[in-house]
């Protein structure tokens, strides 16, 4: 299973929405996610891939508050706005883990 599919399935489960609604371009803030949802999603990803995603609750809130204004939020310095962004972060962290 590609990483993007796992990411979609974890996000869909946390937000209780059909996985088909999620494409790489789907924005988390447009899905009605609240900051606690983002934190739950990040936890799900960390558990699934055995990685650590450096996202604080305040950043999750900023991300969601940015709404349609083009804000990105961040995990460390990486964008964390769309499903594709999240998959990219996971990809990078998994690759870094393998390289170790």
């Amino acid at each position: 299973m590609a990483i993007i599919d796992d990411v979609r399935s974890i996000i869909a489960k946390s937000l209780n929405i059909p996985v088909e609604r999620l494409t790489p371009d789907t924005r988390l803030d447009e899905l009605g996610a609240e900051s606690l949802d983002v934190i739950e999603i990040v936890f799900g990803l960390e558990e699934k891939f055995d990685i650590t995603i450096p996202l604080k609750a305040d950043e999750a809130t900023r991300l969601l508050e940015a709404g349609g204004k083009g804000g990105t939020g961040s995990a460390g310095d990486l964008p964390f706005a769309t499903v594709g962004d999240v998959a990219d972060i996971v990809q990078k962290l998994v690759a870094a883990k393998v390289a170790q």
């Binding site: 900051s35 934190i39 604080k56 609750a57 305040d58 809130t61 900023r62």
Partner: protein, 402 residues
């Protein structure tokens, strides 16, 4: 209706466990936050907390009694004894039989629970200690205070997370005001700086690894604390008749629920609690000189609380002095409201506003007077102390100068 006054204050805190040390630490903005020393930190990302470092249980309890007391009960009993002593209170038959004992705590005996589960799950111990339940039950601290002082009136624990202490004191205030109890011992206690509890807080991603900087643009989250504060509350007439010290008068109590988000502060719910407390106190918003804020140091709380203060106080918010004690005390959850009521009562007593510690830079979202870093002498006739808990539970007290 009785007028209700605070005649005794007992504290166990990260900046010292006497009323004098506590007050001087607050006024000097001497932060009790530092590297964690009481538990192993190898598995923690968060290596700072506001621990009570000068507390030696063996100085207060013999070995057998100590074995019955989780740390949160030890704190409560020591604070309660200090409050009774501070109030110069002799516990006679009427008080013993009728005084209320109400203690707020968000968790229970977390150290006992954590230790017991570690032994069972990690070390494969066969059995738990027979006193485990008696140490960890949520009402343990309250029951131990009652037993220690021989108080046999209405006695119970209030749990409303970070509002527990304020709810407990507010409830006791109402009972003394109405005459339901002739006197009350009330406050809050918490001791849950354990590996398991910090891990759980880390998972919420709200802990700072730097320090607690309430209302500062540079704030990075909350820092866990621990401690207890207990108070003697009694009718003003009784206090005057027996020549007791009077630190402040309790004037009003307001409580609301947000019925909204489980973590985020709801400015409407918080403002409604502030207004309810003002109405109960029959004090106008413009007559409040000082608010001891909840001020956790998270981006969301401090911004939302500022909005709530503006909603509740209107134009007079501009003239309000607001400070958070959490830069000094950390966030001691169920004890926080009680320790902060001690700060507020002592502010009225000393006519001095304790500052917001660790403040660095103004935030456009937090645009009130937060009394940054330096205490301020000011005439204070009325003050407010606010607590806003996870679960959307808000509790606010209004006090007046004695």
């Amino acid at each position: 209706m009785n007028r209700v006054v605070v005649t005794g204050i007992g504290v166990v805190s990260p900046i010292g466990s006497t009323r004098e040390k506590f007050w001087s630490g607050l006024v000097e903005a001497r932060s009790g936050i530092g590297p964690i020393v009481n538990i192993p930190t190898e598995r923690l990302n968060t290596k700072i907390a506001a621990e009570v470092r000068d507390f030696d249980a063996s100085q207060h309890f013999d070995a057998k009694r100590q074995g019955m007391l989780d740390r949160f009960s030890q704190f409560a009993v020591v604070a309660a004894r200090a409050a009774v002593k501070d109030a110069q209170l002799e516990i006679g038959e009427e008080i013993a039989l009728q005084a209320a004992t109400i203690v707020g705590n968000g968790a229970g005996g977390m150290n006992t629970l954590d230790d017991s589960f570690y032994r069972l799950y990690a070390q494969n111990a066969t059995r738990a200690h027979p006193l485990s339940i008696l140490r960890l039950m949520a009402n343990a601290a309250c029951s131990q205070v009652s037993m220690d002082l021989g108080l046999k009136g209405p006695t119970f624990t209030i749990a409303s997370a970070c509002s527990s202490g304020t709810h407990a004191i507010g409830q006791a205030f109402q009972m003394v005001r109405s005459g339901q109890a002739p006197l009350a011992l009330a406050g809050g206690t918490e001791a849950c700086i354990t590996v398991g509890a910090i891990k759980a807080w880390e998972a919420l991603r709200v802990l700072s690894t730097d320090t607690c900087r309430p209302f500062s643009k540079t704030r990075t989250g909350l820092v866990l604390g621990e401690g207890a504060a207990m108070f003697v509350l009694e009718p003003r007439d009784r206090a005057v008749a027996r020549g007791a010290p009077i630190y402040a008068e309790l004037l009003g109590f307001g409580m609301t629920a947000d019925a909204n988000d489980i973590t985020a502060i709801d400015p409407d719910g918080a403002a409604r609690a502030m207004r309810a407390a003002l109405i109960d106190a029959r004090v106008n918003a413009e007559d409040i000189a000082y608010v001891n804020a909840h001020g956790t140091g998270t981006a969301l709380n401090d911004k939302g609380e500022t909005v709530a203060l503006r909603k509740a106080f209107g134009d007079s918010a501009e003239r309000l002095a607001v400070s958070s004690s959490k830069g000094v005390l950390g966030h001691s959850l169920g004890a926080a409201g009680a320790l902060e009521l001690a700060a507020t009562a002592l502010a009225l007593h000393h006519q001095t506003i304790p500052p917001t510690a660790n403040y660095q830079e103004p935030d456009p979202d937090c645009d009130l007077d937060y009394v940054p870093n330096t205490a301020r002498n000011a005439p204070i006739e009325h003050a407010m102390s606010s607590s806003f808990a996870f679960g959307g539970l808000n509790a606010v007290l209004v006090l007046g100068r004695a």
